[in-house]
Amino acid sequence: MKHSFIDQYNDLDSLIHRLDPRTKLITSLAFIVAVVLTPVSNWRVFAFYFCLIAALLIISKLPPLYVLKRSLVIFPFVLLIAIFIPFFKSGEVAGSYNIWLWQVSVTYDGLLILANVVVKAWLSILSLILLSATTKFTELLKGLRQLGVPEVIVLILSFMYRYVFILVDEVMRMRRARDSRNFGGSRLHKLRTIGNMIGTLFIRSYERGERIYAAMLSRGFDSNVRSLRLLSFKRVDAYFGAAFGLALIASAIIFW
């Protein structure tokens, strides 16, 4: 089965796609740090960040709807963590409610922080989508390696990329096999079946891991991860990096 949930738009051609993965990694990281460090009330800076990332997304030719859908994935996590902030932050009260025995009040400061957390998370995820959708995963791994990320971590990421597709295949086959023999049953029974499937998947993955390790040993693997160096910076990387850095610094100077 073919899956394309990781590398769907990596084959497009644009200025952003052609950049060295290291340039993209560093600028993405710089962007996220800048977003996170920007003070809460500085809305103009956030507007500027949004324009910046939106411009890059347009240059990258990624379909806007795809980017939007992808970016929504982050909200459940952010909301789960941040939803209680308005209730706990002290300050001017925006509204107060009686829920049974408790009196709960929402403050303006709290709401501001909630909005801020959501905006920061969204801007960060946009930049990560830009990074991951315009860079082939293999290039990203090379970039990480050359930026000095430990080889073991790069190796783990590369295994994840290689085997996530096979695991998904396995889950789909198991689901199909279950559905072909599914004659209803109680909810508890269904839950138990899912539990069994997860267990089976774990054991199969564990056994596959052992076979892969044997295959690695057979080709001379001795726990030292080695690799060739294959990337090189181009002039456009320097221009892009410099322009992006200037934009971030300028935003800090002008709007603060």
């Binding site: 073919k2 899956h3 995963f137 293999t138 791994l141 590369s158 295994f159 990329y161 290689r162 085997y163 597709f165 096979i166 596959r208 076979r211 892969i212 044997a214 295959a215 690695m216 040993l217 057979s218 080709r219 001379g220 693997f221 001795d222 080695r226 690799s227 060739l228 160096r229």
Partner: protein, 244 residues
């Protein structure tokens, strides 16, 4: 003639006590193609894993005269190219290039030599130009070929294959057999596919319940239907009759 594989009285038990191999004696000479057949669970894969020191039994295995022990492992694994049955296990890198280059990089060859070896290995299996593809975008037949290329890049003296034709359609199967025929090195092939065995191997060994139970030329073995039947390698008489 030179002995590529030399095994004397090898027995092996898995940690759970299950006996994997009993008193195995096996010699493979330079340039031979030897088939290893037998029912599921007979110990074929277990025996193959002894040939490059992934598993260790109670006695010494010699490869090209070199005992398989800790200090020789690197040299042994360069000489013995072991191709696993499932290419999904053999191909664990994000691109074809990374996988074929894995062995040569581990052996510490220079960047230039690694690239040359990868190009040569891919050419041998007829897959040049696939360097930057991802294994999960290839067909089963293509994956099998790449899996073989991953060991050819080390230029091994002994090619050990576990069920090379499993899961292949007839066309891919015969083109893979043709490919293997053209590779000059000594081969040990574990297989259920008797067509593959008769097409490639001069000598055949039957393994059943962890022991070698028969050893002869492939023609002798494959024509001895009662023998094959005893070990579950040919259908029982009743089953052969065509329906209707």
């Amino acid at each position: 003639m030179d002995k590529v594989v030399d095994i004397e009285n090898l027995s092996f038990s898995y940690p759970d006590g299950h006996q994997g191999l009993k008193d195995i004696n096996l010699v493979v000479y330079f340039g031979e193609n030897v088939a290893l057949i037998g029912p599921n669970g007979a110990g074929k894969s277990t025996l193959l894993l002894h040939l490059n020191g992934i598993l260790h039994g109670n006695s010494m295995v010699r490869i090209c005269g070199l005992p398989v022990e800790e200090k020789n492992l690197k040299e042994i694994r360069r000489k013995v190219g072991l191709v696993f049955q499932d290419p999904e296990d053999q191909l664990f890198s994000p691109t074809v290039f990374d996988d074929v280059a894995f062995g040569p990089i581990n052996m510490g060859y220079s960047e230039l030599e690694v690239k040359q070896r990868v190009a040569q290995a891919l050419k041998w299996v007829g897959m040049d130009g696939y360097e930057q593809r991802s294994p999960h975008h290839l067909s089963v037949g293509e994956r099998k070929r790449i899996a073989i290329a991953t060991v050819l890049s080390l230029n091994p003296q002994l090619l050990v294959l576990d069920e090379p034709t499993s899961n292949l359609d007839p066309r891919s199967k015969w083109s893979l057999i043709e490919l293997l025929r053209q590779l000059p090195m000594t081969k040990v092939i574990a297989a259920h596919d008797l067509e593959l065995v008769s097409a490639l191997c001069q000598r055949t060994i039957i393994l059943d319940e962890a022991r070698i139970v028969a050893e002869s030329t492939t023609t002798n073995i494959l024509n001895d239907i009662p023998l094959l039947r005893t070990h579950g390698l040919a259908p029982q008489e009743k089953a052969i009759q065509a329906p209707g």
